[in-house]
Assembly symmetry: C2
Homo-oligomer: 361 residues x 2
């Protein structure tokens, strides 16, 4: 058994250790094994009880189950892990994958949209996915009803990746079982959650960050205001990826989300050539060596004084970590370490956009 994988999985599956915390722990302590050992002490320094760490046996059971399903793990920063996804601060430390892993070598574009999209929009999404496939792009989507399904269908011959919110062995919605099984064979399916996980509402935004994060750009085809597709578009923009949208008549309420995205700066696309024109400048970045893009501060050993200061600066309202660093006058590494300690002590909440707050006692 791959011992490093067991340790990483234990860390990932420990309650209270999210992707950001995972990344910082492994960077600071050099390995998942060392991080697991350090966690109890860090949590105590942060003024809380150590988190319940995932047991070794539990992790081994999951690994055996994944193997039995014919799936495998992709490890952040290693081998086949999607390169662009690794750029996210909160990139999933591990992904479970079934299918054709060669698809991860090509530039990917996400096509997302409404589950209750119009027939015309679904037809458009299928055609767009097909045409993008002909241009050697891999089409990523979420295996949901409507636009997602149409996008996968259009690109099934050329290559498509479905990212699901639940476990790799769960078919949701149920009518997509055949589609998901076809993608096990001819495409690729990725899941962050352990096998057997039924998708819940809170899982979908995590799924969406993977769709946006592994893609050079995201195309929204038909989306209502305040829909999940718009969240995916926002996550893509935050990750520095291209955001594109397909317009529609203002008389069609289903076009409002996309039209608003375009007003807010998304590129209007009408065809695959519009998309490729937008993505071409990303190609060099997709091909660049992993790890070459993210400069992170080296975490430094905890300092009681910094920890106390950070506690005073934090409150229940989320504030950017950068602001905490500035206000504290301490080094970035020292502040990050103090935050890590508070986090492991269960006293910190991490929010979108690199913000943190103190958790109500």
């Amino acid at each position: 058994m791959n011992e490093d994988l067991v340790d990483r999985l234990r860390l990932v599956r420990s309650p209270g250790i999210g992707p950001v915390t995972f990344r910082q722990l492994v960077r600071r302590f050099g390995s998942a094994a060392a991080a697991l050992e350090a966690v109890p002490d860090l949590a105590r320094r942060g003024g809380g009880k150590p988190p319940r760490l995932c047991e070794r046996a539990e992790a081994e059971r999951e690994i055996a189950g994944v193997e039995k399903l014919g799936a495998r793990y992709l490890t952040l920063g290693q081998g086949l892990y999607p390169r662009l996804l690794g750029e996210l601060e909160d990139a999933p430390p591990l992904l479970i994958a079934t299918g054709n892993l060669n698809l991860l070598d090509r530039m990917a574009v996400a096509i997302v949209g409404a589950r209750n999209a119009s027939a015309a929009a679904c037809r458009f999404a299928r055609g767009l996915a097909h045409d993008l496939g002909q241009l050697d792009l891999v089409v990523v989507s979420g295996l949901a009803r409507g636009i997602d399904s149409a996008a996968h269908d259009g690109a099934i011959e050329s290559g498509t990746v479905g990212v699901i919110a639940g476990g790799i062995d769960i078919f949701y919605p149920p009518e997509n079982e055949q589609r998901q099984r076809a993608m096990f064979e001819r495409g690729l399916v990725l899941a962050e959650m352990p096998p057997g996980t039924e998708p819940r509402a809170r899982h979908f935004p995590y799924r969406n960050r993977i769709i946006a994060g592994m893609s050079a750009g995201t195309v929204v085809v038909e989306a209502a205001p305040r829909s999940g597709s718009l969240i995916t578009a926002r996550l893509a923009a935050e990750a520095g990826r291209e955001v594109m949208a397909v317009p529609g008549s203002p008389l069609d309420p289903r076009a409002q989300g996309c039209n608003q995205l375009i007003r807010d700066g998304a590129t209007l696309v009408q065809s695959a050539s519009d998309v490729i024109e937008e993505l071409r400048p990303m190609e060099a970045r997709v091909r660049s060596a992993p790890g070459s893009y993210r400069a992170e501060p080296e975490l430094v050993n905890g300092d009681e004084n910094v920890l106390g200061l950070i506690e005073e600066l934090l409150g229940p309202s989320p504030v950017p970590v950068d602001e905490i660093i500035r206000l504290s006058g301490a080094s970035s590494g020292a502040v990050q370490m103090a935050l890590l300690e508070l986090d492991l002590a269960g006293r910190l909440d991490r929010h979108a956009g690199g913000k943190v707050s103190l958790r109500a006692a």
Copy 2:
């Protein structure tokens, strides 16, 4: 009879004296009367035969006819002449107007689009025009079929201006006679051509520059690629006005022109509030004193050497006047004067974007 109007009209109606030439002549010689006297000599200096000047009697006949129609002239740089239109280098020296001249005091927005627009797009244009009227904007369009007619209809209560390609007394298309007559009464109709002129294809781009030029912004509702509406949008952009477009599904060929405009930088609009948001910054400019916005070089007396040099620099390919000035090393005023002489001699062609070329002999 208004002698200055007679002189201006004689100059305007003389073949070979376009709006740019008119403007330069009147600036250089102080009045239309003085310009009329100077033209023969200038043309001879430019190396050509003097143009046939419009006879006084002919001008007087037109003025009497306009009065009989209950119409009146608007003079560039004077009184009620549309302020923003006066900013154009090739602003019409005279316009013929019938209707409610008070409409020229309010900020105007153009709504243009396809003659064969869809019923849905016409309904949208009518609603948009109505809503913009409620926001105190005057709606300008071209009294054509389709979108133009819908826009006028939507704003007939609040205030709308129709700019026509032919004479003020010509109804084109014929089925718009009732609409045009209603606008004589309750709106305003403007024409650059003399009464009795049947509109020809070449008149429409001139009409479009007036629509775009008198409006703070232009909204294109549904337009085919390479249509007149897109020319209006380009003219609006060149005049530094806001260009807005209403999107549509890529599956609808009639939406392609607007979608392309948005890709090229036009603002996507879905409602009157989107339009007003875009136009609010223009309000100060609309209200500014006339003449305060355009700094023109004072033309200086002709100089044989400059004229010879300019002739050598010019060829059959259009080049920007600014480039001629730079290459000649002469003053801007001297170059403009030499160009004016060549122009009046029938040896110069003026093109869009301030370019000029030597006319083939």
